[in-house]
C-alpha cells in the first residue's frame, strides 16, 4: 500500500470513527414530547365523569383513572446540527451523515413509554373541586347562561337565560370554576413531572369539554363565535 493509499484508508477510518461517535452521541438525546394520545384519553375520561357527576348532582370522591397509554415520542433526535447533504463533499462529512441518518432510521422506531398519571392526591383533590363546582354550574350550562371557551375555561354566554336570583352568584361561580379548572390542568402536569405541560393539557381538555358536552351546551369556537351543541 502506498503512503497515499495508507493515508486514505486511515482517513476513512477516522471519518467512520468520528461519524460513529457522533451517531452514538446523537442517540443519547431522547426528547419525550407531550403525550397527546394519553392526554386525550385522560381528558375524555375526566370530562365524562365530571359531566356525569354534575348531572347527577352528587358529590363523590373521584376514582383515580388508570390511564397508561404509551405516549408517542419523538424519534431519537440527532444532536448533530442539520446539514445540507449537497454541501457534504468530503468523505468525512459523507460518512458522518450516512451513519447519523442510518442510526436515526433505526432509532426512529423506538418509543419511550410515557404514561399520564392522574392518580396523584393533588389531581384527585383538584378533580373533587371541579366536580363540586360543576354540580353548581350545571343549571347554568343547561340554560345557556354559561358556555365553554375554546381554551378550556368557561365564560358567561347569556346571563339573562336564568332568573335574577340565580344570576347573583354567577360571576363568582365562573371565576371559581376557572380557577379550579386551571388548578386541575396544572396538577395533572405536575403529577407527570412536567409542569410546563399545563397549557397543552388545558388545550386537550378544551377539546374534550366541547366534544363531550351534552346537547344544548354552548361553546365558543376558536374565533370566539358562540355555537350550541
Amino acid at each position: 500500500m502506498t503512503k497515499q493509499g495508507w493515508l486514505k484508508t486511515q482517513g476513512w477510518r477516522s471519518v467512520l470513527a468520528l461519524g460513529l461517535l457522533m451517531a452514538l452521541s446523537a442517540c443519547v438525546t431522547v426528547n419525550i414530547y407531550f403525550p397527546a394520545a394519553a392526554a386525550q384519553k385522560l381528558a375524555d375520561q375526566v370530562v365524562g365523569e365530571v359531566y356525569k357527576a354534575a348531572a347527577k348532582g352528587a358529590l363523590q370522591a373521584p376514582v383515580a383513572p388508570a390511564v397508561s397509554a404509551p405516549a408517542p415520542t419523538a424519534p431519537a433526535r440527532s444532536a448533530a446540527p442539520a446539514t445540507n447533504s449537497l454541501s457534504m463533499a468530503s468523505p468525512y462529512h459523507a460518512a458522518s451523515y450516512l451513519l447519523a441518518m442510518g442510526f436515526s432510521a433505526i432509532s426512529g422506531t423506538a418509543e419511550a413509554a410515557a404514561n399520564l398519571n392522574a392518580s396523584s392526591p393533588g389531581v384527585q383533590s383538584a378533580r373533587a373541586q371541579v366536580e363540586a363546582l360543576a354540580t353548581q354550574m350545571h343549571p347554568y350550562f343547561v340554560s345557556g347562561a354559561v358556555g365553554y371557551t375554546a381554551n378550556g375555561q368557561v365564560t358567561i354566554h347569556d346571563a339573562a337565560a336564568v332568573s335574577l336570583p340565580q344570576r347573583a352568584p354567577l360571576n363568582g361561580l365562573v371565576s371559581s370554576y376557572n380557577q379550579a379548572l386551571s388548578n386541575l390542568y396544572q396538577q395533572i402536569a405536575d403529577a407527570n413531572g412536567h409542569p410546563e405541560w399545563a397549557g397543552q393539557i388545558q388545550q386537550t381538555f378544551a377539546q374534550a369539554w366541547i366534544s363531550k358536552a351534552p346537547a344544548g351546551y354552548w361553546y365558543q369556537s376558536p374565533s370566539g363565535q358562540w355555537q350550541k351543541k
Binding site: 392526591p121 383533590s125 373541586q129 358567561i156 347569556d158 344570576r167 347573583a168 371559581s176
Partner: protein
Amino acid sequence: MHGRSRILPIAVRWSMTLCLGLAISGVAGAQILEISAARISGTGWTAQRLHATLTTSTQGDQFSLAAGVAQAGKRKLWRHARLQCGLQTARGWACRQAHLAVEDSPWGALHGDGQVQLRRVGGSGQAMLALRAAQFGSARLQVQSTAAGQWHLTAAGSLPVAGLVRALTLLPATWQTSGQARWQVQARGANWAKARQIAFELQGSQLQFSSPDGLQAAQGVALQLQGDGAYTGQWHGTARMRWTQGGVLWSPWYWTAPAAALRIQTRWRQTAKAWQLDQGSIRWPGLGRGGFALYRPTRGGVLRWQIRNMDVAMAPLYANWIKPLAPPGGLAAQLQASGHVRFSVAGEGGLSALKWDLRNAALSSSRGHLAVTGVNSRGAWSRTGKTSDAVLRWQSAELYHIPAGPLHVELVLNPQGFQLQQPFTLALLGGDLHFRHLAARWAGPRSGFSMSGDLRGVSMAQLTKIMHWPPFTGTVSATIPELRYHAGDITTSGALSAQVFGGEVRVGDLRIENFLGVLPLLRTNVGISGLRLKPLTDAFHFGYISGVLSGDVKNLTLLDWSPKAFQAQFHTVPVHGVSQKISYAAVQSLTRLGGGNGISGFFQGMFLRMFKTFAYAHLGMGVHLKDGVAELSGVGTEDSGFVILQGQGLPRVDIVGYNRRVDWDELLARLKTAMHSGAQVGTGE
C-alpha cells in the same frame, strides 16, 4: 290685541338672557306676528332658539311655537320641538287640537296631541296644557299666576320610565329600562323665574332594568317616591321611598322586596357644592333598621356615605350581604349565622370605618366542619391609620368536630389588619392551645391569618377518637412556629415539634390546601426521633416492645385526611440503658403486619409461648405508599424477603416478610387486626 300684548312682559321677565326679535307683517290679507328669542331660561331650565308665530286670517287664527333646544340643567330634553294649533281668542287664548312634534327626546321622536289654554281670570293669568303622546304617555299641567308674578303649578301624568331614566341619566345609556310611572308635581314661586316650594310623588310599577351583561338588573319592581322641598337660599326638603314589590340584582347581591314594604326616609339638601341626604332612616322588615347619610359633590369628588346604628339580624345579613362576597365552595360560603349585630359603617371611595357590637351570635358550616356558639364581639376599625381595640368572646367552638373551650381575646386593629393585644389560651381536648401570636392582614400578598403558639397536654385518646384514627393514649405537646392561613390554604414556615412517648415528632413543610373545603389536601414531611416503644405499644395494644424508635415519613400526602402517598421508614436505635425486647404478642402482631398469619406452627407456638419476651438486635419497617399500593421493606434483606425483626440471643426470633407489595387497605386492615388482637403482656419493666 290687548291680551296678546300683556303676555309679552311676562315672557320678558322670564328671560335671563334674551335676544328678542319681533316682526309684524301682512301677506294676502293675513296678519302675521312673529316673536323669536335666542334663549329663555329659568331656575334649572333653558329653552333656545324659540320662535312663535301668530297668523290671523279670515279662515281663523293659527299659532305655532318652535323650540330648537329645551334643556333641564345640562341635559337636553327636547330638540326641534314644534307645536301647532288653531288659536281661539274669544276667552283668553286657547290652542285646541294642538299637535306637538319633537324630533329628539329621551323618549325618541314624539308626536302627540293636546291643548293649550291661556286666559286671564280677574287679576291673574292661567295656563293649562294637556298633552298625550304614544311614546311619552300623558301630562296635564296647570299654572296660575298673579300680576305680580306669583304662581302655582299643578301637574300630573304618566310616562314610560325609560325616557325618564334617560332624561335624568339615572343609569348608563346602554342599559335597558322599562316600566311605567305615574307622577304628580305641585310647585309655587314668587316670580316666574324662581320656584320656592315643590312637592312631588312618583309611583313606579313593573320597573325593570338590565345592564348589557345582565349582572345588574331589576324585575317587577314597584316603588313609591314622595318628597317636598323649599328654597330658602338653597333647596332642602324631605323624601320618602317605599319598595313594595320585585327583585333587584346587583351581582353578587340579590334582594327582594320584603313582604312588608322597605321604607326609607331622609332629609335632602342641595347646595352649590353638593347633594346631601341626612337624618335618613331605613326600615327593612326581616333585616333590621338604622340610619344613613350621604354626601355627593356636584362637581366631581368622592361620594361619602354613612350607615349609622344599624340593628340587624345576623342570619339575613350574612346570607344576603356577606355570603355573596365569598368564593363558592369556600368555608365562608358554607356558613350560616345567627344572632344580632349593631353596626355603623362609613365609606369614602371604599370602606373607611366600621364599628360593631355583635351579640349572641353563632356560626356553623353546612358540612359540620365549623361551629361556634355564644359569640360576642365589640370593636371599631378605621382606614385612616389609627389603631383601635376589639374584643371577641365565644362560649364554645368546634373545628372538624374537635371541641374548643370558651374564648376571650382582645385585639388591636390597624388599617391593614389586627393583632393580639396579649397572648391567650384556649382549652382543647384536655389540654390547651396557647396563642403567642395571632394576626390578620386584610389585603396584599400576605393577606390572611397567621399564628404561633404551643399545644400543651392535648389528649391523644380524645383526638384519635374524634378523627377516627387508630386509638392512641397519652398526651401531646407541640410547638407551632408560624402557621399561616391564606385563601383556604394553611402553610407553616418552620417545623411543628411535638413531644410524644418520650421522643420528638417534627412536622415540617406542612401545607394544607383547600382547608375546610372539598377534599382537603395535606402535604408534609415528618421526622421521628427517640420514641420510646414501650408506651407507644402500650397505647396501641400491639403487644409489648421496648426500645427506641426513629425514622421519618417523607412526602406524606393526606387527601381528605386519609393517607394517599408517603415514603416511611422506621427503625430502632440502640440506646444505652434501654433494653430491646419484644413480647410474644408483639411478635404475633408484627407477623400479621408483615403479611403472615401469626405463629401458626403448634410446636413453634408452644415453644415461644414459654418465654415472655425475646431480645432483638434490629426492628424496623419501611412503607412506600403510592396509588393505593404499599411496598414494604425492613431493616435488612434475607433471601428474597425483608427483615422486620432481627432477633438476638436465645431463643432468637426473626421475622422476615416476603410479600413486598400489598394493597394499602389490606395493610390498614392488618394494622387494625394487630392492634386489637395483641394482648398486653406484663413484663415488670
